[in-house]
């Protein structure tokens, strides 16, 4: 076995020899450097493998061959080997990046210093002597200062000076701590501590841990004494940021893990919890308001360290802390580098690899799948939930959300197109007394959804010569390693091989993208893949899962056809869409909460990146991911308290209501219940058209699925005497009213449809919450049919937008003559959506009202009826404004929508017609699905379904309707034999010719009177609330940021304060 001391020997030796090498041959010397840094990686790898294979706890070295209590010991266990592997990996990565950098590669002293930094970090990790730790700490900081002085930004001297003061003070504290420790223990060797001595009794027993901890903690840059570190981050080169947060902080945490066991756990654990929580939350808040990328990452590092401290302090498995730490180490250093290239190149639209890498690192940093941090956070929360440690769970999730706020903001800003102002663009009708013209809620200039400029509305990606550079190779390698290790780790936590296989589809399509396979061919493969996926998962599905599996697979599979309309090359599109499909299906096949949540997060992420592909989608994507994260975290918090019982199998009635409420809140956010809906319209509207369609048809149902999955768990839960389902029912119905009302006043067609699907999902929730046979049937019936008719409508509208290039309804008009097929599809969709008989939509209404009346929810039924009336209004407006009325001159040559958009519409239409004619085709299977939960309360007589209250015969209705339609039609054809077709302007217009179609087309502000009467209901109060929340958080962040005044002496004072604070914490818990 390799002796640990070799690590130190190699780095030190290399540092000495390198100048000589460089004199002889610079190129070879750099190659030798690779060899050395590679060795640093290989050695721990060997240890790691050996330790895990041979089951030996320690690789041990006493330096001079004396008994262990007389020497400085070096020891490597499983944990140290792992940490060394990662830290040295990061070191190798930094070396490769810098020694072979295009502009100003590192030479001589910098490489030596890097080697010394590695020496310090390695020493810190393996040494078992307290004073030795001090030495290595100083070695690594001094070498870091050396590297700092070589930075390109000369502000680094200011930052470095502050850093020196702080680190000087911390080493002073550490030395004092060593002194006191020596007085108590009589030795500095951690392996030779005398047994049975109470280290923490008396004054000395408080003093040594206080000073030792102060020394280490301050070096870890805890909030509120970390301004000096942040100033250094800002001025230092990117690589130094990577070193500081990826290498040094990691090593220092390992130091901390050596000191912690010495101190009595009832003192140290609460202390770490408090310190970690403060750092985690405050640093994230401070990062939130940063405009400097490096400083933001600096604060983020500090916060991540806070998280690790929380984990250490919560007394859970130390391995979790290590996994989080290492994930952070790799991801952060990777992010420093991708950020560097990004900041050098501007927008990332033409740098797909860079976008992918940054995204992966951000995801990893946030502890989202498939990275190791995800499994670690999950396990951590499960343990905390088992201990009912709600407060810690809350802190961890709140901090993670805050982290998402700024990391995703940065990512979104990097990915957004150049046209994207980053604001929500929605056209608002001006007041009567305002000057007529365009005005928008919070935007500059004319709404960008207008005009023919954006024809096609597709993302434009082009590859320039610098799209890929060799520098992205190493981050890419790192990302790949992280993904692999993440999959392995998460598999260890609880994913099965069979469960993971479908996710390889993402990989497959990524590879296709790498080989520049045309999108159309990829779409074809995706359709094949979805069929294969169907066969693969079919045996695992039963009950609800089969139904939702059908909806997901059929819905997305059919809409894949629409992607054939894409021209050229859309990298990532199919990988993400297939990823979305796979995640959705995996949600269905999940057998444990972990699998479920894994798929849930994968679904969130893939859909987020799909939104971001839109041309103007920054704001939409940002809101989408923030609310989705919040939703996921609520669900996660709930899951953590279920004691590992799968939510789909939870039968018993526990005392604890909290998880129920948390999970339901999470689901409410996910289906955009009223109050938390503001993410939905803008993200659906600004995603690309074919993607929005998938969102609205399929993705919007996933929240409903979660409700059904936990149906037994949620039902009969009572909160302060109020049935949770009763509350949920009200939320559902209010959501549908609000969604419909807001859809009514939109000029932008995609906003109308987005609000519409929000309202329709409200009905589904209402149906579910009725908790009866009929209620559930109505909900599932609507889920299925809504998927079809909103798909028709969305794709029809997509065709219009594709042809006309505008999303504003009043700009089009009279398109029935140009796009008759789209019109027919839209017409059928509208009839179905508004619930007008004889189409299947009426079935949904009938089932729902019957269920509501049966349940005795009369007011909800009335509200639902009102909402459905309002839905009728906006649907008419939609079809009128686009297809009827006056044609515009610029659209006279518009052609029918392309076939790829029409085919899925007509497939859906056939299904809708079939269900309308024969409702039992759908309702009977639904009954069998629901049978295990509720006994049937409806019976069948032929095609007639009979409930306790009423009856409905879809078949007869269809025939009667046909009869009453065809007979008058024949009559009209007979009496009206001489009919002349007239031109557009031949109308009864006071015997005059109208001026021009734009002024004759009644479409703008179509329901102005309605707005006058009920507009107060759709005042953007909720948007204002959330905007206010955003401003509040930003101001909070600004205020907290000001604490770090930039004054070196202020920082020294903060450090002293921090030590006093620590001593209070120790005294307080003593």
């Amino acid at each position: 076995m390799v002796n640990p001391v070799f690590l130190i020997a190699i780095t030190l030796g290399f540092a000495f020899i390198f100048p000589l090498f460089e004199k002889i041959n610079p190129k070879l010397s750099r190659l030798a450097g690779i060899l050395v840094f590679l060795t640093l990686v290989v050695i721990p790898l060997i240890w790691f493998i050996n330790i895990s294979n041979m089951d030996i706890p320690y690789i041990y070295s006493s330096t001079v061959g004396l008994p262990s209590n007389l020497t400085i010991n070096l020891a490597v266990s499983y944990m140290e080997a792992l940490v060394l592997l990662v830290v040295n990996g990061v070191g190798l990565f930094v070396y490769l990046q810098e020694a072979y950098s295009k502009e100003s590669p590192w030479k001589g002293k910098q490489i030596i210093l890097l080697s010394i930094v590695m020496l310090g970090a390695n020493g810190l990790i393996i040494t078992r002597d307290i004073f030795n730790i001090f030495v290595f700490m100083e070695i690594s900081t001094i070498s870091l200062f050396g590297l700092l002085s070589c930075s390109s930004d000369d502000r680094v001297f200011e930052g470095g000076f502050k850093y020196m003061l702080a680190s000087g003070l911390s080493s002073v504290f550490y030395l004092i701590g060593i002194g006191f420790f020596y007085l108590v223990a009589g030795t500095l060797n951690l392996d030779a501590l005398p047994d049975g001595i109470n280290f923490t009794g008396g004054v000395l027993g408080v003093l040594w841990p206080l000073f030792l901890l102060s020394g280490v903690l301050i070096e870890l840059k805890p909030a509120f004494a970390n301004g000096w570190g942040m100033d250094t981050y800002e001025a230092a080169d990117y690589s130094l940021g990577a070193i500081m947060s990826g290498i040094q902080a990691t090593a220092l945490i390992i130091v901390l893990t050596k000191i912690i066991p010495l101190i009595e756990s009832n003192i140290i654990m609460p202390l770490l919890l408090v310190v970690g929580s403060i750092t985690f939350i405050i640093s994230h808040l401070q990062a939130l308001g940063q405009s400097s990328f490096k400083k933001m990452l600096g604060y983020s590092s500090s916060a991540q360290i806070g998280l690790v401290l929380i984990v250490l302090g919560s007394g859970t498995n130390i391995l979790l802390a290590i996994v989080l730490l290492l994930t952070h180490s790799v991801a952060k250093s990777g992010l420093f580098y991708t950020g560097k290239y990004f900041n050098e190149c501007g927008s990332g639209r033409d740098k797909p690899l860079l976008v992918v890498l940054s995204s992966l690192f951000v995801i990893a940093l946030l502890g989202l799948p498939p990275f190791p941090g995800f499994g670690a956070k999950w396990t951590l929360l499960q343990i905390l939930g088992g201990k009912s440690d709600v407060f810690t769970i809350f802190i961890i999730l709140l901090g993670s959300l805050l982290e998402g706020v700024y990391l995703f903001r940065w990512l979104g800003l990097k990915i957004k197109s150049d046209r994207d102002s980053g604001l929500v663009v929605s056209e608002v009708v001006p007041d009567d007394d305002a000057i007529p013209g365009y005005s928008s809620s919070d935007t500059i200039g004319v709404a960008s959804q207008t005009g023919l400029a954006g024809l096609g509305g597709c993302i434009k990606v082009h590859f320039s010569s610098d799209s890929f550079s060799y520098h992205q190779l190493f981050p890419a390698l790192m990302a790949v390693i992280m993904v692999v290790s993440g999959v392995v780790f998460n598999k260890g936590v609880g994913l099965t091989f069979r469960f993971l296989i479908p996710f390889s589809g993402i990989l497959f399509f990524v590879v296709l993208d790498l080989f520049r396979v045309p999108t159309k061919f990829q779409v074809f493969l995706a359709i094949v893949a979805s069929i294969i996926l169907g066969f693969y998962v079919y045996p695992e599905l039963n009950g609800f899962n089969t139904l939702f599996g059908f909806i997901f697979l059929f819905g997305i599979g059919v809409q894949f056809i629409a992607f054939f309309n894409r021209k050229g090359y859309s990298p990532g599109l199919m990988a993400l869409t297939v990823g979305l499909l796979v995640s959705l299906i995996s949600i269905l096949t999940s057998k444990t909460n972990f699998q479920l949540f894994f798929s849930w997060e994968m679904m969130t992420l893939t859909s987020y990146f799909l939104v971001l592909r839109g041309d103007n989608a920054f704001a939409g994507g940002y809101r989408y991911i923030l609310f989705s994260l919040a939703s996921a975290f609520f669900i996660l918090a709930g899951f953590s308290m279920l004691h590992g019982i799968f939510i789909g199998e939870y039968m018993s009635l526990p005392q604890n209501l909290l998880p129920v409420i948390l999970i339901i809140i999470g689901i409410i956010i996910k289906f955009a219940g009223i109050g938390v809906h503001i993410w939905l319209p803008v993200s659906y509207a600004e995603a690309e058209n074919d993607v929005s369609s998938i969102f609205s048809t399929v993705l919007s149902k996933v929240g409903v699925y979660m409700l059904f999955l936990g149906g037994l768990y949620f039902s009969k839960r009572v909160f302060k005497g109020v049935d949770t389902m009763y509350l949920l029912g009200w939320i559902g119905v209010l959501t549908s009213v609000a969604g419909s009302m807001m859809a009514l006043f939109q000029e932008d067609i995609k906003y109308t449809l987005a609000y519409s699907s929000m309202g329709q999902v409200g009905y589904m929730i209402l149906g579910f919450s009725i908790m009866s046979h009929l209620g559930w049937i109505s909900s599932l019936y609507l889920v299925t049919t809504h998927m079809m008719f909103i798909g028709m409508l969305f794709l029809s509208v997509s065709g219009v937008i594709y042809r006309t290039g505008t999303r504003l309804m009043y700009q089009t008009g009279g398109l029935i003559k140009r796009m008759p097929l789209s019109f027919i599809s839209a017409l059928f969709a509208i009839i179905a959506l508004s619930g007008v008989p004889p189409l299947s939509g009426f079935g949904a209404k009938w089932l729902m009202y019957s269920a509501l009346l049966e349940k005795g929810w009369y007011l909800q039924a009335a509200m639902a009826m009102f909402a459905s009336g309002v839905a009728f209004l906006y649907l008419f407006r939609l079809i009128h404004s686009i297809f009827l009325g006056q044609e515009k001159a610029i659209y006279l040559n518009v052609k029918e929508a392309p076939a790829p958009l029409l085919i899925p519409q007509y497939i859906f239409m056939i299904c809708v017609m079939a269900i309308s004619m024969f409702p039992n085709l759908l309702i009977k299977p639904l009954q069998t699905v629901i049978e295990p939960y509720f006994a049937s309360t409806v019976r069948w007589e032929g095609y007639e379904v009979i409930s306790a209250l009423g009856y409905w015969n879809g078949n007869a209705v269809m025939y009667v309707t046909m009869g009453v339609f065809i007979i008058p039609l024949i009559w009209l054809l007979i009496v009206n034999r001489h009919v002349y077709k007239v031109k557009q302007f031949n109308i009864v217009y006071a015997a005059e010719r109208p001026f021009k179609p734009e002024t004759t087309h009644y479409a703008y502000n179509f329901f102005g009177h309605y707005q006058k009467a009920l507009g107060f209901l759709v005042e953007p109060l909720i948007s204002k609330f959330w905007n206010g929340t955003g401003i509040l958080v930003n101001n909070l962040s600004g205020g907290l940021r000001r604490w770090n005044s930039g004054n070196p002496q202020g920082y020294v004072f903060q450090i002293l304060l921090y030590v006093i604070f620590l001593s209070f914490l120790m005294g307080g818990t003593n």
């Binding site: 009369y858 009335a862 209250l949 009919v979 009644y1002």
Partner: protein, 310 residues
């Protein structure tokens, strides 16, 4: 089977003829009553017949497109369907129509069918006043639907059924069993909503008669207009029959003719009520009528529902 279908067709035809002729006469007589109130002589009672025949007899017509052509068909189909999904006279197979296809909810939603088709047809004409009227009509509709829905829900809660036949059956045995007296709040809410539904003053912005020629029929003429007029008769009849069934005990007697007579009297009174209100009040603006319906009638409706659910 065939004979059953033929019988049904025959019954349907009878039923339709009865309602069409009755409703046309009703419209004519009401117009005359209104004229008297306003101090005019007014049109003859049979004027609606003259109008319809004249319009169907026009030799030429212009069309703006397929949807324009189909609009009146949709409208009439809507009217016919609404009527045919209801039992007209309780206890007689001849006037049972196709009420076995669905219950009250079907009738309420089928009303939309004709309105949608009509609105689409009017929209294709390209005349701005048509969608203007549609927009007003739809807006007003959602408003009066709310008190109406509440009234219906209250009745459903009262009798535990959505079947119109059963609701009528439950009201038999004397006037004191009518919903109008057993559930007066529902009746008031429903009858207020009915004012909006019949689009007379003060809710006549949709198809305003003289001074503002707007509304869906703006571009309609010849047989198209004839069809709309036919529908207006049938649809009005259907609505009044619905309200009679819901609130006023329906129409029944052991002799068919007497039962029809009862139907005639009751619907006449219902329509008279609309006209009395119409003759007495000026017109609301659209937003005013929306606010009106969402105000007092809705509150009354809510009271009706609450009273039934406790």
């Amino acid at each position: 089977m065939l004979s059953a279908i033929l019988t049904k067709t025959f019954y349907t035809f009878i039923s339709l003829m009865v309602i069409l002729n009755y409703a046309l006469l009703l419209i004519g007589s009401m117009a005359r009553i209104r004229a008297k109130v306003q101090g005019r002589v007014g049109q003859p009672v049979w004027q609606p017949y003259i109008d319809i025949i004249k319009n169907y007899g026009k030799r030429t017509a212009v069309t703006h497109g397929v949807m324009f052509y189909l609009g009146p068909v949709f409208r009439l189909a809507g009217g016919l369907g609404t009527y045919l999904f209801m039992p007209v006279v309780y206890g007689f197979v001849m006037f049972e129509n196709f009420s076995f296809s669905g219950d009250l909810l079907l009738v309420m939603y089928f009303i939309f069918f004709g309105q949608l088709g009509m609105a689409l047809g009017a929209g294709e004409s390209g005349h701005p006043y048509s969608p203007l009227g549609v927009s007003r009509g739809l807006a007003q509709m959602t408003a009066f639907e709310l008190p109406f829905a509440l009234a219906v829900i209250s009745i459903v809660a009262q009798y535990g059924t959505l079947s119109i036949t059963e609701i009528v059956a439950a009201q038999q045995g004397g006037w004191q069993n009518w919903v109008a007296f057993t559930n007066p709040f529902a009746m008031i809410a429903g009858m207020l909503a009915f004012l909006g539904m019949s689009m007379q003053n003060p809710f006549s912005v949709v198809i305003a008669p003289q001074e503002i020629p707007i509304g869906p029929p703006t571009e309609m003429h010849s047989a198209f207009l004839g069809m709309l007029q036919t529908n207006r008769a049938i649809f009005n009849g259907a609505k009044m029959v619905l309200f009679m069934n819901l609130f006023w005990g329906g129409a029944t007697h052991k002799y068919l003719l007497v039962a029809i007579l009862i139907m005639v009297v009751k619907t006449f009174l219902i329509y008279l009520y609309v006209n009395i209100v119409g003759a007495s009040f000026p017109r609301f603006k659209t937003e005013q009528s929306i606010r009106f319906f969402l105000g007092v009638p809705t509150i009354i409706g809510i009271i009706a529902v609450i009273l039934q659910s406790i």
